[in-house]
């Protein structure tokens, strides 16, 4: 049982071709620039962004205690560790997306990648859900889903399968593939996300085991 909702973050209607500015750099991280008086040193630090709803807003599908751990401990740890790793390097001052792409290094991952990508992934994940979510999309997204998957039910099936079959830790995504100009469902391991594959993420679900432990214990083992 996965709580899926239409991405709350997308407010503009999808018009094609998607403008490059879609990767809004200010959206996903609060880059705080501070200037030490008299030294002219600018340091950028990423901050832990709260989900766009209170921690108990998704009960009973996702509990407050899950949020307290998943967001309050895991997500926070990724942010703190990322800041530690990039302090004093040329990655400070970059946007989160730029850090991710730079440290992805065409597949030859540099150490900050895992933390940076996981910060972004979780920001995106919280925004992919909302209280009273689920159901079906409407408007342009529904048209596109129907066009590229056949029907919403087909898409939902494919999405759930992708989530359930990701071995080990990872994510399942609904993306827009600019190359093929169509929507697709993809899965990614560990911290990898579609930004590094030049795809535009629209929706995601976290299938690291930590998020599923609750499901597996409370509901059944089926992811």
């Amino acid at each position: 049982m996965v709580a899926i909702a239409v991405a709350a973050g997308i407010t503009t209607p999808l018009t094609f071709p998607l403008f490059p500015g879609f990767r809004r750099s200010s959206r996903s991280s609060q880059l705080r620039m501070s200037q030490k008086a008299g030294h002219g040193v600018i340091t950028g630090k990423f901050e832990l962004r709260p989900p766009p709803y209170p921690l108990d807003a998704l009960e009973p599908h996702m509990s407050r205690s899950t949020f307290e751990y998943h967001w309050g401990k895991h997500h926070r740890a990724y942010v703190d560790n990322l800041n530690k790793q990039i302090a004093g390097t040329e990655l400070t001052g970059k946007t989160l997306e730029d850090v991710i792409v730079a440290t992805y290094n065409s597949g030859n991952l540099l150490p900050p990648f895992n933390n940076a990508a996981q910060v972004w992934n979780h920001d995106f994940f919280w925004e992919s859900m909302k209280p009273g979510g689920g159901g079906k999309p409407s408007g342009e997204i529904l048209d596109l889903i129907n066009r590229d998957f056949g029907s919403f039910e087909e898409f939902a099936k494919e999405f759930k399968t992708a989530a359930a079959t990701q071995f080990g830790s990872g994510w399942a995504w609904l993306v827009y593939k600019d190359k093929d100009k169509k929507l697709a469902v993809v899965q990614s391991p560990n911290a990898v996300n579609p930004l590094v594959l030049d795809q535009v993420p629209l929706l995601t679900v976290d299938v690291w085991e930590v998020i599923n432990q609750k499901f597996s214990v409370v509901h059944s083992l089926r992811r």
Binding site: F167, G168, S169, V210, L221
Partner: protein, 275 residues
């Protein structure tokens, strides 16, 4: 797909639950096996051509091996609940998935678990069955790598070898812990005896990979998948790893494996008698 014969497996271990006859001359194929019938417990496969009289087919399956202790024996370091979920649901799930997959592909029958894993790994291009087979093996190995009243230190030869290859036991413990804490995503940490280099080493692997695929000999292991520690330790991985080292790891099991490993890897200088 063509597979090499399983018969001459150098690491011989009982796969969970069934005895497998190692017939050196038999090649794996879709045809039936004809091992010596005197092998106890061997479940023989028959072609449908034998079954005109309505006798049902017999298949060999892997079974779920129980840990060598009761499910609450590792309390309070690893709770009964964890064992129930980790062994009873996850490990069982892997066994059942593997059996389902093997049903469709009978050319894989007859392998010991070790050989099955190597064959399915396919030199880095694994077949779909690999994950389940490897995870079954990994978990069998993991349960046996722990014991109630575990922890403490190894003794005798194993301790000597650890001190030789790591400097000191403390250093080994540190390196092992570091490997466990720096593993990203799901995976395992292993103490292995490397065949070529003839020394102990610590390696970490992702998802279901294990050292058998590189022909190294595992001595002990730690499961770093989140399902192994999350119920008891949540996100406090360091506490989990330390608890494992101090209270759970079975150096007895490790010593036995070390002794067995030395049948295949010569660790010492050859003692040439002087006349």
């Amino acid at each position: 797909m063509s597979l090499s014969s399983c018969g001459s497996s150098s690491i011989c271990s009982l796969s969970s639950g069934i005895l497998v006859a190692n017939d050196p001359s038999s090649k794996l194929s879709k045809r039936r096996f004809t091992p010596s019938i005197s092998q106890p417990g061997w479940k023989q496969r028959r072609d449908s051509s034998d079954n005109n009289r309505g006798v049902s087919k017999v298949f060999g399956y892997y079974g779920l091996k129980s840990p060598p202790y009761k499910l609450d024996a590792l309390e309070p370091y690893m709770s009964q609940r964890t064992l129930e979920v980790h062994w009873g649901l996850h490990h069982r799930g892997y066994v059942e998935a593997l059996n389902k997959q093997l049903e469709k592909n009978d050319s894989l029958y007859g392998c010991t678990m070790d050989e099955l894993i190597k064959v399915l790994y396919n030199n880095g291009n694994p077949f779909p069955e690999f994950n389940d087979a490897a995870q079954v093996w990994n978990h069998d190995f993991f349960w046996e790598s722990m014991q109630p009243g575990g922890g403490d230190m190894p003794t005798l030869g194993l301790l000597q070898q650890i001190e030789k290859d790591f400097g000191s036991f403390t250093n080994f413990k540190e390196k092992f812990t570091e490997a466990a804490l720096t593993l990203f995503g799901s995976g395992w940490v292993w103490l292995v005896l490397k065949r070529e280099a003839k020394c102990l080493a610590i390696i970490k692997t992702s998802n279901s990979i294990n050292p058998l695929v590189w022909n190294d000999i595992p001595i002990t292991s730690l499961d770093m998948w989140e399902h192994a520690y999350y119920l008891d330790y949540r996100n406090d991985k360091a506490k989990y790893v330390n608890t494992f080292m101090n209270h759970l790891v079975s150096w007895n099991a490790a010593a036995v494996r070390m002794v067995r490993a030395q049948a295949f890897v010569n660790l010492g200088e050859p003692k040439i008698p002087v006349a």
